[in-house]
Symmetry: C2
Subunit: 279 residues, 2 copies
């Protein structure tokens, strides 16, 4: 029942009739707020109460908590229940699901790319998912009808759904999301407090994502550590290339590397415009 | 008579009476456009015609051209003329001025932090400098009254003027402008074309400045190579720190490094808001 969990139950309330949404939070104060705000049909006080009658269970907690949550809910799940989540990395979730959930239930991974810099149930919005991309992940052992049902759920809530394996997901999002976050943080940390106030809008934009909450990001980086470490290595290689060209005053090589980045980004922006992902 | 040069002469036309602005470009087509647009009182066809009656000469060309331009204009300058420029790095400009300009004229460095992603005289605006920060640079041998006159010129054109040495300028702007540009380019170059379209707004913002023109940036990086190489080294060090913490799954260290970046950036944004440099 954080921002994303409560936004999902709110969207379910708005989008479906004949569906009962049941929310749980381990914090009493969050459960009280969720009840006052009416973001779900019912807010319950325990995991067994939340999951024992569920057709689909959606985890919207830090990925590091999934291991214990799977263990805790396992004995209370009905056969055939679909379990999914909204975590930003997918490999470990699939592994833990296989290890801790009973064979009679079906785990499918989900990553709706939606959020806000605000946090907490009080910022939940029933339109947070509208137009968002949602990646749904499966392995060779994922139940096909559970996979189809999970994709339909997100599509019905307004998402543009794409599917891939958890391995592919974590490799791609290390590159386009996790490593950029790390790079922005490294850039800020490399800037001396004495000089930083001379920064203009270029620096402000380049470093924007470094303002994300560190506990959420530590969770993401910890659960995708190998891909992130490899991706940081690739950024360091590119920085070393530019450093060598600059130190050698090799104008052609500097211009070539900068032109390569400019052309690649121009293609990205063109794609985003065409697919209407940017206004 | 590019975007910045023509914007300066346009601002002079608007701001002063009794001042004659004379423009020059080595391109005939640019001179014709500048005449048609009326961005200066007069557009002349040669450097001697441009500088021989000037009280103040402003170079608005790539920094790498200053060496030859100083040499070419030197025999035609009247004693007491102030020479300045609008280059994004200042060390080499001061060095070349000392080497090639006669002792009877006064060089002062300027760096108005204003520009546009557009280029060319046709995009000149007489309000481009309004509210911009302009750094004016001097060394131990800079003439005090020429320095004061140069600061007054930019202030009269609407800039918020700050002064420092060229050495300090190039060190600071390597950190807050040149190295961020290099980092953004390295990040884009490290991303595979196959995956880049999964990038969201975070990546788009982090990489924005990598879309700058490579010839302008190659000029900046070449003329501030030592500071840039050192600054890239500091970013690599910070990336190595984060890489080690992530590879070791050291949650406390990851969170500590991310929190440090977040706090530093929060202070920067607070400063920008207070000084009204961000809306």
């Amino acid at each position: 029942m954080g921002l994303l969990g409560a936004s999902i139950t709110s969207a379910i309330l708005r989008s479906f009739s004949g569906v009962k949404s049941v929310g749980f939070s381990h914090r009493d104060s969050t459960r009280q707020k969720a009840r006052q705000l009416g973001v779900a049909d019912q807010i319950v006080d325990s995991i067994p109460d939340c999951v024992s009658d569920a057709d689909i269970v959606i985890l919207a907690t830090p990925i590091c908590t999934f291991e214990n949550l799977f263990r805790e809910m396992a004995p209370h799940l009905q056969p055939g229940t679909i379990i999914t989540d909204v975590g930003s990395t997918k490999n470990l979730a699939h592994k833990w699901a296989k290890k801790y959930l009973p064979g009679s239930v079906h785990y499918v991974g989900s990553h709706p790319i939606a959020g806000s810099e605000q946090r907490g149930v009080e910022f939940a919005r029933d339109d947070l998912l509208a137009g968002a991309v949602c990646i749904v992940t499966k392995t060779a052992t994922t139940d096909p009808s559970a996979f189809a049902a999970t994709k339909k759920l997100w599509a019905d809530l307004g998402c543009s759904v794409k599917s891939m394996s958890p391995v592919e997901h974590d490799r791609i999002f290390a590159e386009v999301s996790h490593v950029p976050h790390i790079t922005a943080a490294a850039l800020v940390n490399a800037t001396s407090p004495k000089n930083i106030n001379y920064a203009g809008t270029g620096f402000v934009d380049t470093s924007r994502i470094a303002s994300g909450p560190e506990n959420v990001w530590a969770d993401i980086l910890l659960t995708n550590s190998a891909n992130c470490a490899a991706g940081i290595g690739r950024v360091i290689n590119q920085l070393e290339k530019l450093k060598a060209a600059i130190a050698a005053k090799d104008e052609k090589m500097i211009a070539k590397l900068l032109a390569q980045a400019r052309a690649k980004r121009a293609k990205l922006i063109e794609h985003k415009m065409k697919s209407r992902e940017l206004l």
